[in-house]
Amino acid sequence: MIVDFAQRWHEIEPLLDRLFDVPAAERTDWLRGQCEAATLRALVTQALDNAPDIEMLERGVAQWLPALADDLPDTLPSVSGYRVLRFVGAGGMASVFEAERELPGGSQTVALKLLRIDVHDPDERRRFLREQRILARLQHPHIAQLLDAGFTSAGTPFLALEFVSGDNLIAHCERRGLGARERLALFIDVCAAVEHAHRNLIVHRDLKPGNVLVSADGCVKLVDFGIAKLLTGEGEETRTEARRLTRTYAAPEQLAGGAATTAIDVYALGVLLAELLGGVRPLRADDRAIDAAVVDHDTVDRAGVDTRAFDDATLRRKLGPDLHAIVCQATQLDPIRRYATAAALRDDIERHLEGKPLRARADTFSYRVLTFAKRHALAVAAGAASTAILVGATTVSLHETHLAHRAAQNVRAQALVAEAEAQRADAVKSFLEGLFESASPGTKTSETAEELLARGRERADRDFAMQPALRVEILALVGDLERRSGHPDRAQQPLEAAAALAKAQFGATDRRTLHVEYLIAKEADELGRVRDATSRLQSAVEAFDSGPNRGSQEEVQALAWLAGLNERIGESAKAIDVGANALALARRVLPNDSNALTEAILNLGWIFTDAGHADRAEPLLREALARKRSQLGARHADVADVMTILSWALNRRGRYGQSEQLMRDALDIDASAYTRPHPHVTWHLNDLANVLALEGKLGEASAFYAKSIALDRALAPAAALTEAVSLGNLARIRFSQGAYAEAEVGFRDAIERKQRLLGADYGDNGRNYDRACLAEILIERGRFDEARMLVDEALAEARRRHRDAHPDIAFALTVEARLMAALGNREAAAVRAGEAVATYTALADRGSDKATRARLLFGEILQSLDRDDEAKPQFESALAAARAIEPNAAALIVRAATDLARVDDSLGDKAAAHRLRAEAEASLAGIPSEQSTERDAAIRLVADASARTKL
């Protein structure tokens, strides 16, 4: 039944008055709660934000004028070289005519577009023609080819495009009644075309149904590629462009006058997809603005409410979960959170069609922070770190690269032409560098820097088209700056372009080619594609090594990075080998004050620590710290990051006091280096808590974990992963305090969160360690079957990941031994514990907390089997390690001393046993007086021991 809207206006209006105070996304729900009359509710709902007419009403008079003008007596324009046949249509930017041009082979039908601007300024004309030449190179089966361009005698710019006769995408699908799969097949072609253009550094900027045509034979053709850009000059306000855009499809940053990046096309593709499949259109930007005005903007941002372009419920209902997730990911209001490329979007659609799990995650957050945190995750998980942190923060300074290049140029005395080219490069680079250095990440300035980077990229393509060497350098620089300013996703496109160009121009044995490959590996690493990055960089290094240019700074950097990647994928021996080579090479060929040398040192130090050789790591990390301090100043944020890695190595060596002091100093540096909540600070808080936990200061550790979690929440959703890590650590504290049930709940929550956040990448990021930890908790809770399953999986996974001896394997073995002992299978327990100890021995690990406990466990199991002779050296070694820990590891000493005293007793050495009991008793006072199972056990052990003495 059609109800007259006007008749019920008296009821509708008061409802609207209140409704407009409700954020757009919540309006449907609000109405459900506030308006009981179903018809009335239906009336209001359908007329609201997504109603088809809203967009048209917003366009106002402009929509009718072309038709009005069309009625005026026609004067077809005259364009030299063309015969204009008829008027075809008009859009916001141009009028389109069908025309013919004469070619040697006969006549060709073209779509002649006359743009709605006048270009009289000679510079502007040149710019137009230059842009047009770039566009003309764009050739793809799904892109209408640009054939020609010029100016009419009146100065109106025109473009001649391949003529496509057909409907727009939506109309085509409607008219033929195509099903979802057929629509998606067409959409995949659209993505492919956009992808191709992006690879050629061309952004469409105005994707919408009207620009996606489908010819009668069903072939998709995108028209008007990059034409929106032709309409704005460099000096002209981007606002002008925004005014001419079709608002529905324009990304928010585009309407706000932001830089035109590939992300705006990804957004438009997402909107197109929603319309194509469900006829759904996004909420209007002005509605969102009103919402934001109603709700305090910060709150909106923090809570992540206002991050979606669509009314979520409608979208989900019409598209189903998969496609809903895809559209959401593509149309995130924050460009960083969108699919990094059109290819990634297409890939997910293909996965959907093949029934595979999507890459789009329902809980989308900054991929960058995710991967950064991912890499840090294990470094902060107490003692089990097996991932690089902060290697990304130790890049060679651009300034130095620049000096090195210049020096290299002098030495090689390149031809004058190249020299001049390089000087220009230097000029542009200094410009970009200045830009980057002056803008600290996350500030208002860096937004401007991002825009300028986008512009820099355009200029690389346009201004340096004929200077390949320069273009490679600029593209690589722009890509690297994008990565460093926190957009590894945006880095890919310029870097890939640079790589292809470098390979073609200079060959694989050139240092410039290798350098670009190195940058690509860093970017892929940050995006979590570790294995791809490793094999690609490996081949690049091999190719380079076959040439004559060995021994350059570029090689040092590439090798050092390759080493780190090998460690990340579990190839520790290879990592150490490659890393040591890189460092040797660096010490040989690089000047002593080189940052690349520092990077190589730090890198090897990190690898040693991760691989379980903290003793070898420590001197390297100390050297790296000293170098960083002298290069950057003692209070630079990067210095705090190096301190974190050193603190981690010190923990493994039992130097808790120094480690704690380092982390306190690092946090002190943070306090002055960061002006706002920053992910590094949460990591550092976590690292401090880790040391405190090792020292048995459980209460203080809990407090710092809690601080870290509070900060993670302030950074939400970006810090979701570090939050999960901290929650897990907090659960481990509960475990140490004997609150096993609480520990289990907390740790399961942490695992669940990590699983959700990391997906398939969890395997590469400490899943085996987490499973072993959970098993440890479950053993205490007496749930042996579950524990067994978990620890078996953990061990299998750790072994699969690490070809060589590794702390993760040793830890899983220790937990398994404990399980066997709990089950009463002491023989099997002894075997497992023996293997664990052997693994630590192979790693030359004598001092770490875990190694010491493994030795104690092994000894205790042996003793229970009456193998006192074998138990004794384990206890001795553990006691020596416990004594070496500073500050005094009282609880550990009590346990080791009483263990050893028992053995000495039964072996008949009463004097030694007596001395040891006295030591244990004296140590008791050194245990922090707070609730912990370890303290309880120590008190019990000493009591037992004194009872034994009295016997």
Binding site: L48, V88, L114, P209
Partner: protein
């Protein structure tokens, strides 16, 4: 094309809300618009119709020819929006009469991307009958492309209220257009 000497009087009567005066103005302004559009087209060889510019230019021509002065520039735009609305209605009626048989292909916009002017006019009339201010705001926004601030000047309320009025009017129009389908 020369406007008669009585145009000032018509404008003044229109300013007092005399609808007959508005109707009398239409042919003159329309003629002026057409002439401008045609000239522009010949000059640039394309349909360069920048709405606001067009409306403004048409006014300037009229005002120059007739010596019209307005204390409040914004009021004139209000009339122009009324005129524009009538022009479009006329045009749509004629179009409907001629009804082309074939749907023409447009590379720019699809046909479905246009609001039916006649249905919109009807809805606007209903709206104005229910709430004069909302009708006014909608007309100014739709046909003269005035900003909220400019509309606020004319209607004498603040810009924030205009924004809210427009959202309401837009919902009303959208609701009416939908039930027309």
């Amino acid at each position: 094309m020369s406007a008669g000497p009585d145009i000032t009087e018509f404008l003044e009567r229109a300013a007092r809300g005399d609808s007959a005066a508005v109707d009398a103005l239409i042919p003159r302004i329309y003629a002026s618009l057409r002439q401008l559009a045609r000239r522009q087209r010949v000059r640039e060889g394309a349909h360069t119709l920048e709405t606001t510019a067009l409306v403004h230019e048409a006014y300037l021509t009229l005002a120059r020819q007739n010596g019209v002065t307005f204390s409040d520039r914004a009021h004139l735009y209000a009339y122009m929006s009324r005129v524009m609305r009538h022009i479009l209605i006329d045009h749509a009626r004629r179009k409907n009469a001629q009804k082309r048989q074939s749907s023409e292909m447009t590379a720019g916009e699809a046909r479905s991307e246009f609001v039916d002017v006649l249905a919109l006019d009807e809805a606007l009339n209903k709206l104005a009958a229910l709430d004069q201010r909302l009708g006014r705001v909608a007309e100014l926004r739709l046909f003269a492309e005035l900003s909220s601030r400019e509309i606020a000047e004319i209607t004498g309320v603040n810009a924030r209220t205009v924004e809210r009025d427009w959202l309401k009017a837009r919902t009303f129009l959208s609701g009416c257009l939908m039930s027309d389908r």
